[in-house]
């Protein structure tokens, strides 16, 4: 099934000439990119920022930001057993995921260690798309033993765009996608674009009103242009990851291999994490039929052997605490900040931290963060008080208002 025949194989030799793939939207991004600062996302060129990361952030929170999510790894899972298979694979109950709905989920190895998190789209009764950060084809194929499903990797074939911000619906409406008006958060729909169809879901990584659009690669640029033209009057702005990262921290979302290490990637045995250790306990559905990692997760809960916990922190002052050590009573090392920013919208110094239990579970008070601020070649060391607070750090009513606002 996965064997590639010789001709295509030879044609693909030239891949080495472009060690960083250009996404289907690259031509548009490159034209707008005044900084030329690219990083590698899943082997693709992706922009840190196009012109000014701070202003790009405000596009997310004030108008509409267009962000290329094509490098996200995508698998298409279809077949009569697709629902049963995904229910066996992932933590949440897929039987409760209706057609044209999306849910955030995660999946584990047999030891209950998280392999990745991602979004699962139910495109049809027997047709699903799984989007994630890391690559899992061998795991997905091996897990399919005994199930009648077809699993295809479609990362490069499908282009993806996130359109996020208060005017994102207005942009879609102006572009002729007004039918998305009835979409509630995590709904999706399919609408015509050129000679193909585009899947639009009310989802995103910003905690704001927003949508994600998926289209076959060949129609990527025309979709971009359609949104861009329509968005001109609504403040549409293309953004890079730096801006998105600020928004996702405010929204309290975690990033695989940023806020936790995936089980397939961990070289050190103690770095793997169970769902309950990275704030994903709410995904685990013990009442649904058996799924990967179930026994291990339930045993860890029963025996109280969970070692870590992921928390949101609010830290005094305004110096971001990225990768700072967390202490209990200013003395006992309790964990590490995995992501931290000064939130421009919440006006708070926020962070996501991984703590070693009982810190964060039993001992929730008297936490401190040791910040080393490098200022003109000198570290200014400071110990700042930190308070565990619920995530998201920022709740916006417009995120879930249906029908969505226009501005």
């Amino acid at each position: 099934m996965t064997t590639i025949f010789a001709e295509g194989r030879r044609a693909a030799q030239t891949h080495i000439l472009t060690p960083r793939l250009e996404t289907p939207f690259h031509a548009r991004l490159a034209a707008l990119d005044t900084l030329n600062e690219w990083y590698t996302w899943s082997g693709c060129k992706a922009p840190h920022a196009l012109s000014d990361p701070e202003l790009e952030y405000f596009a997310i929170r004030s108008t509409a930001a267009l962000f290329d999510i094509s490098p996200m790894v995508k698998y298409r899972i279809a077949g009569p057993d697709a629902e049963r298979y995904l229910n066996r694979l992932t933590l949440r109950d897929v039987r409760r995921l209706a057609v044209n709905r999306v849910h955030y989920t995660a999946w584990c190895d047999d030891h209950g260690h998280v392999l990745d998190d991602g979004t699962l789209f139910r495109l049809g009764e027997t047709d699903f798309r799984l989007c994630c950060q890391e690559r899992h084809l061998p795991w997905l194929l091996d897990s399919a033993f005994g199930f009648s499903v077809d699993i295809r990797e479609e990362t490069e074939a499908v282009a993806g765009l996130a359109l996020q911000g208060p005017t994102s619906f207005a942009v879609l409406a102006a572009a002729g996608f007004g039918d998305v008006q009835q979409l509630k958060p995590f709904d999706s729909t399919t609408l015509p674009h050129d000679d193909v169809s585009v899947t639009i879901s009310r989802t995103g990584f910003t905690g704001d009103l927003g949508y994600e659009l998926f289209v076959p690669r060949a129609r990527a640029l025309s979709l971009w242009d359609r949104l861009w033209t329509a968005g001109a009057a609504h403040g549409i702005r293309a953004i890079g990851y730096d801006a998105l990262n600020q928004a996702r921290i405010e929204a309290g979302f975690i990033v695989a291999n940023g806020d936790f290490i995936t089980a397939d990637g961990a070289l050190r045995a103690d770095r793997v994490r169970m769902p309950d250790e990275i704030g994903l306990d709410w995904l685990v559905d013990p009442d649904k039929p058996h799924f990967n990692g179930r026994n291990a997760i339930l045993a860890a809960r029963r025996n109280q052997t969970l070692k870590n916990i992921l928390v949101g922190l609010e830290i005094e002052g305004n110096i971001p605490a990225e990768h700072a050590l967390v202490y209990h009573r200013r003395k006992h090392e309790a964990g590490i900040v995995t992501a931290g920013i000064w939130s421009p919208t919440a006006k708070r110094n926020i962070a996501i931290a991984s703590l070693e239990r009982p810190y964060g579970s039993l001992y929730k008070d008297d936490l401190w963060v040791e910040i080393y601020a490098l200022r003109e070649l000198k570290y200014q060391k400071m110990m700042k008080r930190a308070k565990i607070v619920p995530r998201p750090f920022l709740r916006l009513a417009r995120r879930s208002a249906t029908p969505p606002g226009l501005r």
Partner: protein, 539 residues
């Protein structure tokens, strides 16, 4: 007759490492080398004008950076340079490249199988985990499990603790890794023949086993443990050929006052009343020292240089049965221009790395079948490289040195000795395999050095020309290498030590056996060892 504090028998890289450390610790050390040059199996010789060969070993990765630093080898001229990937040529005219860049590597795999492309990370993770376990053991003396000395007990505890850091799954995986065949191991991850063949080659290099023989998975690990400047698993060239390693060691040794005598073949190691007092050279000269350290392999040392009657019977029995089988040959070729490989696109980096023509595990195993029958492989496995594509010091611009490691090649041909005609026929097998993928190859050849186990044994002195001084299978590792009870570099004869690759942690141009032997000797002399760096921490 001059008296030394210590004599090193054989100037290979490990002998020189021991010599350097002992000399720096204040001993008066002499290295006695039978050839007219030092280096053992890490040499660069000019056998035809204008071309320097890496005559035996040809790539550098395992050599411990701690030793390079302790002995100031960079100051004495050693430079190790990383190289880009390589390729396996397939019989259908394509190739499988290996690239240093992670995503390019994945894309190259995905030309053959999308599944295998995405399986590589998990494979690399599992192999790296095992390496992280083994790496700290390289620069420690293996404990004697029945020694009951405090240090043996503490080393055993260290091993147990290291092992204890593993979860139950990793422990199971480790035991499997140490005993499985590389073919079985790879089958658990990959489906594509050429991908498995490319990864399997590290499991059989230098080993008289086929990819389907149990124990070969560990051999892969041994090759994966190296690094170039912290880039684990990376391989590089020693600038100036592998002789640059031993030349730098020799200069470091001499700079600290050590004595090297070339053309000084040792005939026997003196022993009286269970204690050594020096050596006798082939010309009858006696060189005296209370310490003798043999860099020769364990068989040559104890079956040749020491009289059997001075040794315990059990020990001799174990030495006789230490597995040290010749399995490979080497063809070094001087070329007047860079060969073309039409399968590779123009400008491909692969030509600067390791190249191979064996595109399936099955073919490797068949090559091994020939060895079992006492023939060199009709369709051999080649590890071929052209170091001069990035090393400008070995020949003049435009000309090239090509190194071909060839497997399998038996020590005897169906029970009889090799002849010169056999050797030439062996070379022809190799050249015709290359020429099949590189038109006009023969016309570029200026000179060739062809080495079967016979030539390697004759020149370097390694029994059967086994490049590791004894196979790296689990029955011959750690406290079983070379002989249980004698895995701490000491021998049954007081004052006589071993420092070659026959000892823990084994072969490859690693230097660790030489360094570990020096530590044990200095401990016996109650001399300080703190100037010898401990193994870099694996963090």
């Amino acid at each position: 007759m001059r008296k030394f504090d210590a004599i090193i028998v054989g100037g290979g890289h490990n002998g020189l490492v021991t010599a350097c450390y002992l000399q720096r610790a204040g001993l008066n050390v002499a290295v006695l080398e039978k050839n007219g040059w030092v280096g053992g199996a890490a040499t660069s010789r000019e056998l035809t004008p204008g071309f320097l060969y890496s005559n035996c070993s040809y790539v550098c990765s395992l050599f411990r950076p701690e030793i390079m630093r302790d002995l100031e080898l960079p100051k004495h001229g050693l430079q190790v340079i990383a190289y880009e990937g390589g390729a396996v040529f397939t019989r259908d005219g394509d190739y499988l490249a290996s690239y240093r860049d992670h995503d390019s590597h994945r894309r190259e795999f995905s030309r053959y199988s999308k599944r295998d492309a995405e399986a590589y990370d998990r494979y690399a993770r599992d192999v790296t985990r095992q390496c992280r376990f083994i790496q700290p053991l390289l620069m420690r003396t293996a404990p004697d499990p029945f020694g009951f000395r405090p240090r043996d007990i503490s080393e055993l505890l260290y091993l147990a603790r290291k092992f204890g850091e593993f979860g139950p799954q990793e422990m199971a995986q480790t035991l499997r890794f140490w005993t499985m065949s590389i073919a079985d191991f790879l089958d658990e991850y990959f489906e594509t023949d050429v991908i498995k063949a490319y990864l399997a080659l590290s499991g059989i290099i230098g080993t008289a086993l086929g990819p389907m023989s149990p124990g070969t998975a560990y051999v892969l690990l041994h090759h994966y443990m190296g690094e170039v400047d912290g880039s684990v698993g990376a391989w590089g060239y020693a600038r100036g050929g592998m002789g640059a390693v031993t030349q730098a060691l020799a200069r470091s040794f001499e700079a600290s006052g050590g004595t090297i005598r070339t053309d000084a073949p040792v005939d026997r190691i003196l022993s009286r009343g269970g204690r050594t007092s020096g050596v006798v050279l082939e010309d009858g000269e006696e060189v005296r020292a209370p310490l003798v350290v043999s860099n020769a392999d364990v068989k040559r040392t104890f079956l040749d240089l020491v009289s059997e009657k001075d040794l315990p019977g059990d020990f001799v029995h174990r030495v006789k049965h230490f597995k040290m089988r010749g399995s490979s040959g080497k063809v070094n070729i001087a070329l007047d221009s860079l060969p073309e490989f039409p399968a590779l696109p123009e400008g491909s980096a692969c030509i600067r790395g390791d190249m191979h023509f064996t595109d399936s595990v099955e073919r490797m195993e068949r090559a091994y079948d020939d060895w079992k029958a006492g023939r060199w492989s009709a369709d051999p496995f080649l590890d071929m490289m052209i170091p001069t594509t990035i090393d400008p010091t070995m020949t003049s611009p435009g000309k090239h040195f090509m190194s071909c490691f060839v497997q399998y090649c038996p020590p005897k041909l169906a029970g009889r000795e090799w002849t010169d005609a056999d050797r030439d026929a062996f070379a022809e097998t190799v050249v015709s395999q290359i020429a099949e993928y590189s038109p006009g190859f023969r016309d570029r050849i200026v000179h060739m050095e062809v080495r079967t186990p016979r030539e390697i044994e004759r020149e370097v002195g390694i029994t059967e020309g086994n490049i590791f001084q004894g196979e790296l299978t689990f029955d011959q590792l750690l406290f079983n290498r070379p002989v249980p009870g004698y895995a701490q570099y000491r021998s049954p004869i007081a004052g006589l030590y071993m420092c070659g690759s026959s000892t823990h942690p084994g072969g490859g141009v690693m230097g660790a056996p030489g360094r570990n032997a020096a530590i044990e000797i200095l401990r016996d002399l109650k001399r300080p060892t703190e100037r010898m760096s401990k193994a870099h921490e694996v963090v």
